[in-house]
Every structure is written in structure tokens, then in C-alpha cells.
Amino acid sequence: MSSIEFRKDLFADERDDDLNEIGKPTIRQDIIGHVTGRTRFYDDYLFDGLLHMRCVRSPHHHARIRSVDFSAAERMPGVRRIIRPQDVPHNINTLLSLINFGRDDEQLLSTDKVSYMGEPILAIVAETERQARDAVHAVRVDWEELPHVLDVEEALIPDAPVVNPEYPNNTFDYHALYDHQKLRFGDVEAAIEKADFVVEGEYQMSPIEQAPVETCGAIAAPEQNGRFVCHTSTQALFFSLGTTAKQLDMPSSRLHFIGGTVGGGFGGKVDSHHEPLAVLGAVLTGSPVKYTWDRTEEMRVGAPRGAERWRLRDGVMRDGRIVAREFTGFFDSGAYTRLSSYAIIKGSGHLPGPYTIPNVASNVYCVYTNRTPATAMRGFGITGVDFAIECHMDKVAETVGMNPIELRILNAYRDGDMKAHRRLAKNTALIECCQVAAQKAGVPLSAEASAAKSSEGGGIGERADIPETITDDMGRIGDRRQREIPTEPFGGATNRGRVPAGTRGEAVVAAEVQDPEMQIDPTRIGHSVSQAAGTAAPVEPPRPVQPTPPPIPTPQPLTPPPAPVPAAPQPTRPQSAFADPTEASPAQSTPYRPDKPFQRGVKRPGVSSFISGTRRR
């Protein structure tokens, strides 16, 4: 039997516990519906004359489609419509184009080739699910199998098969510059040289299925007045609506999406593939159409939590202090981008875990392989690297001969510490969690570890400082197609630059309330805030840039490209932030510089003018 206790004694001075409704164990609003079976999930909306959709899918990891013959399927009983790729008005998308991140790289129904087993090329609408299944089996496809690649690091070899034509390097393009997301804080190599121990490890998380008990699906039907209603299991109603509007080239005002009650999601219901197809089916047949995955599709075609491979290298002092940590990460995105590239940014901002380490570097790759595209799942972008970090912490503890919990408390981040992504830590509570867990399990801690507090000892001296940081320009887009490049940070880099100590931009905080009437009285929120404005996050005061020696002119760091054209207003960086070291000295090598600003999320007419690996030639 499990137990739960609320340690109200901890952080009691930061909290007001006499709120009226907040904190109470009020029964769930939806629970009566759940236990009486009256809760209505998307499939609990019944339509007369409902048609069923099934997809013809690739049996190969990677293959060219020579021809598709659906003449027999078309004549089968109950078949109402064969939906071909050319029936999809805008047959290319990437999920995060709705926030202008990444390039359209995935078709709803694929035309020329397939890049994973299970990729859909045709959708068939029939009167019964059985008839739709039978018709799918009657479609004849002439496939030309292509060489495939399944391992993330094999996919980075220059002559590896190209999985995703939009990204011929088999890597997502970060910031129109690199084939990976960088994190650079301090000088990892110098610190590792001075460390007493170097601890290395490699960690791997295999793909994991979200496995909600309700599979993903949608039912679309013609509504009155030329609109279409869509009942969906989506985790993101307006993502699915927006994606449908884009792919069907239909004003969003003609779409009426209903959801909000979902039979488990865990991240597996954000990809918005069912809604466009179901609505398209309803448009083309004039009837209600259901498109849902069966359980096997949910497990094999539905995007899993992607595999991740992480390599860690720590520089550790004899007393247990970690002075440097280097990461190399590979996210297996599968054949298309979906959300992996975004999760990598989230993951990079998370490094080096909840510890204050003065020198951190990471390269993280979003790699395309010939497998089911990956997507979000509970802890997305973090679960895999937390597994790596925390297994690694135990290796470090063993190396220095310390109690693993005390090692963590020693290195734990505290209020006021500078994190590797150059924002100050606040509201930290790792130490207290360690202490309480140890106490509950009966693990004795040293007096020092027991006395440590998150609110004390942080933000002092170099803990709060941004060190001079070494950068490099390895892994520029297209480089890998031409020659092999080490994946780890600085691996043989010759071009190095230095970002002066103290350099940082401004923290982005919540937008102000549009009307003061919406601003809750700060005395009614149950905790203190640092500004009278209320719930908006406090603006970190811009730290003065510390006096630093002028940037070392050689070797020359790269010049960033012109700023991408943003779709939404971008926060302006104060000029102290990231004072571009290249502006101080003229370019010595010819840096990569695209001739046009690159607008993210937009597929240019015809062949992309910004295909990775070809642009530089």
C-alpha cells in the first residue's frame, strides 16, 4: 500500500495555505461521467451512414513507388472513394509550421517514395471497416526497394541513404546554420584537463509507445452551412484544426472541431494526421467518415517517443565537484520531423540537469532514419537525457567514492546560480527533494548534506557568473555530406571563438495583461511575487557585462546569417547580449552566408531553394 504526505513544513514561509478552493481534494468534474459510462469520447458520437477509412501503407523501410493500381479495390463492394495524394489540396506539412519552426517535409499521403514501414500512400473510404480493409489488400503497388538506414550514427555517414529529401544531410537544420543544436558555456576542454577524473558513459533509450487505451482517431461529417464538424482525440484542438485548414486549403471558419475528452494521450495524440484525412473523406464523399488506428497501427504506425542516444563526459574533482560536463545527443526522429527538432531545443535548455556545473557543452542532433517518425511523449526531450544524467551521476559517485545522494546535493543547483542556458536559477528545490527522499528511505546523510538548502549558498561568486565561453563552427549545414565530421562538441574543431564572460541576452517573460482588470490582486494568489504587477514573471535585471579583455581575434568564429524573417514579433536582444564577436573583427575565412533570408516553415514553390547539403555548393 502506498502513502502520500504533504510536507507543509517545507517552504512554509513562501506559501499561504488558506486559499478557499485551491489545494482541496475536490472530486474530478468528469468522474461521474467516467464511472457511469456517459463520458463521451470522440468515438461516442454516432452518425448515420458513417463511412470508414483505412490506409494503404508501405511494407518497406524505404522504397520508391513505381506505380499504384487500385482498379480492383475501386470495384470492391462498399468502396466509396479512393483518396489519392493528388486529392490532398496542400499535400506537404510539418506540424510546427503553425509556430514557424522547421520546413514542410511530410506528405499526408506520399507520392514518390516512402521512408518508413507503414507510411500511408492511399486512403480508402468504404461503408464498413471490413470492406475498407479488404479494399486496402486489393491495391497493387509496384515498389522499388531502396537502401535504408536505421541507426542514427550510420545516418550521419556522408554517403548514407537520404531519408528525407527536405533534409539531405539526414539531420534537421538548426538556425539555418548547423546540423545540430549547440550549447556552450565556459571551456569544457580546459576544465576536463584540470579535473582529477574523467567519467564517460553512453546511454540509449529505445522507442516507447504512448499506448493510450483509446487509439488516435477522428470522425468528420458535413455540418450545416458548408462547414465540417470533426470529433477528435487530439491533444491540441487548434493544432489539429490549423493543420487541417492548411492541408485542405480550407478557411478555418469552415471547420468545427470538438474534442477535449480524450482516452489518454501521453503525447501520442498531437500529430494531427487523422483530422485532415477524416475531413477530406467527408468533403469528398459528402458523408460522415471515421479514420482511426487499430491497435497494431497505434503501436507500429503511430509515432512513438523516439529513441535517444546520449554520450556524457564529465570532469570531476576528487571532492566530488563536477567541473565540466559534455554531451553528445542523437534524437532518432524517424523519417520526418514532427516534434523531435523542437524537443532537442527543450532538452538543450535542460542541460546539464539540475546541477551547477561551470563548464558545459553539448551537440544534439535530430537525425532522420527509416523508421516510424517519433513524436512527443510524457517528459519529451527530457526523459532520455535524465536517464543518462542520473545513471552518470552514480558512475561519478562511484568514481570518487561518495554517497550518490550527497554527490547530488553537493552539485545541486541553488537559487541564484547561473544555468548553462544563461538564465538564473530561482525557485529551486532539488536539495530538499534529495533530503526528504533519503529520509523516507532511511538513507543517512552527512551533517553537511542534511543542512544544505536550495535558498542558501547559491548565486555566490562564479556560481552566478557566465564564464568566458569557447565556441566553434563545426557541423555547418552541408559539411557532413562532403566529409566526415566528429559529432562531439569541439571534436577536432580548428575554428574557435570566444564569447566574453558575462555575455547574455534578456530573459523572455510573460506578456503583460492586456487590461488591468485582468490582473489578479497579488494578495489573492497565495504566494509572494517580486513585483506588484502580479503573475507576470519578474524580469531579471540585465546584468552588466563584466569588463573583459577584447575578444581574441583569431581563430575566427562564424558570422551568423541574416536574421530569419520572423512570423511573430521577436523579442529584441539588448545590444549587450551576445555582442557578436564577429563584428569586432573582419571575417578571415569566408563564412557561410545564405543569399536570402530563410523564412522558416514555408515551402518555397518548386524545389526548395534551401535544401540542406546542396545550398552551399
Partner: protein, 161 residues
């Protein structure tokens, strides 16, 4: 395709439907009889979301041919409440926070109902055994097991009272 008539009692009500050959009971209950409580989770007999009771025993409706329930008594989670009065199992699930998304709940309740009908004083092990065919991805099962034991105790109390 010819349809054949099937008559059965659904949650105490005489029900008659015409079904296609090979139609499964889950589809018939949901689409023909309009009782949406049992859910389709896998159609493979692997998740238990469609669990119903047929003549007092649990069956997976998705794997049951509709024609085989001719003349039988079929009960779904809809049958549990007595009008507005929740069944002790339902009450225990509500108060014990034994559901999150709620998709497995109707099937889980029927597995529990069948257990308590047959064995009013189950051990914890017997409860876990009884719901071993029902997958819940949200709760970690423990609140469900606790709720079933709570309901069992309440039902025993009612009987002895």
C-alpha cells in the same frame, strides 16, 4: 449481406437488433443498441475496455459474436447505477480517484462487478487477478485496486446491515 435477428436483455431491457453475420457484440451494443459505455481499445482482446457481463460472467465484447448472446443477459457499466444512485463500486471509484482519462473505467467496473458478485470478500491478490485483463495506462492500478476493496467492504456492510 443478410442480417439475422438477435434478441437479448441489455441492462435489464429486452433488446432486439438485426446484425450482419460476424458482427461483434461490442459494435452491436454501441452502434445498434446505443449503449456507449463499453469502449473499443484494441479489438484484440488485449485491453479489457469492452468488458461486459453475459449471464453473470465477464466477456470481451469485441471478441464475442453478437449472434451468440441470443436469449442471454448482457450487462454493461450502464447497468450499475440504480437510477441516480451510484453503485458502491462507482462511488468508490469516484471517491478514490480511481480514474483519470476514464476510458478503461467502464470495462474495469464490469471486471470488478463480476468479481464481487462471485466473491464478496476478495483478497487484494484476487482483485489484481480479476482486473489483470484490463489495461489502465493512467492510474498505476493501485487506486483501482483500493476502490474495489473499499466497495467490497461497503457491499458486505450493506448485506450484514
Amino acid at each position: 449481406m443478410t442480417k439475422s435477428p438477435v434478441q437479448f436483455t441489455l441492462n435489464g431491457t429486452e433488446t432486439g437488433v438485426f446484425v450482419n453475420g460476424g458482427a461483434n457484440l461490442l459494435d452491436v451494443i454501441r452502434r445498434e443498441a446505443g449503449d456507449l459505455a463499453p469502449k473499443l481499445g484494441c479489438a484484440q482482446g488485449g485491453c479489457g475496455a469492452c468488458t461486459v457481463m453475459i449471464d453473470g460472467e465477464t466477456h470481451l465484447a469485441c471478441l464475442t459474436l453478437a449472434e451468440t448472446v441470443e436469449g442471454k443477459r448482457v450487462e454493461t457499466a450502464t447497468s450499475l447505477a440504480n437510477g441516480p444512485q451510484l453503485h458502491p463500486l462507482q462511488k468508490a471509484f469516484v471517491e478514490g480517484f480511481a480514474a483519470q482519462c476514464g476510458f478503461c473505467t467502464p470495462g474495469m467496473l464490469m471486471a470488478a462487478k463480476a468479481l464481487l458478485d462471485a466473491n464478496p470478500s476478495p483478497t487484494r491478490e484476487q482483485v489484481t487477478e480479476a482486473i489483470a485483463g484490463n489495461i489502465c495506462r493512467c492510474t498505476g492500478y493501485e487506486p483501482i485496486i483500493n476502490a474495489i476493496l473499499t466497495a467490497a467492504a461497503e457491499l458486505r456492510g450493506r448485506i450484514s446491515a
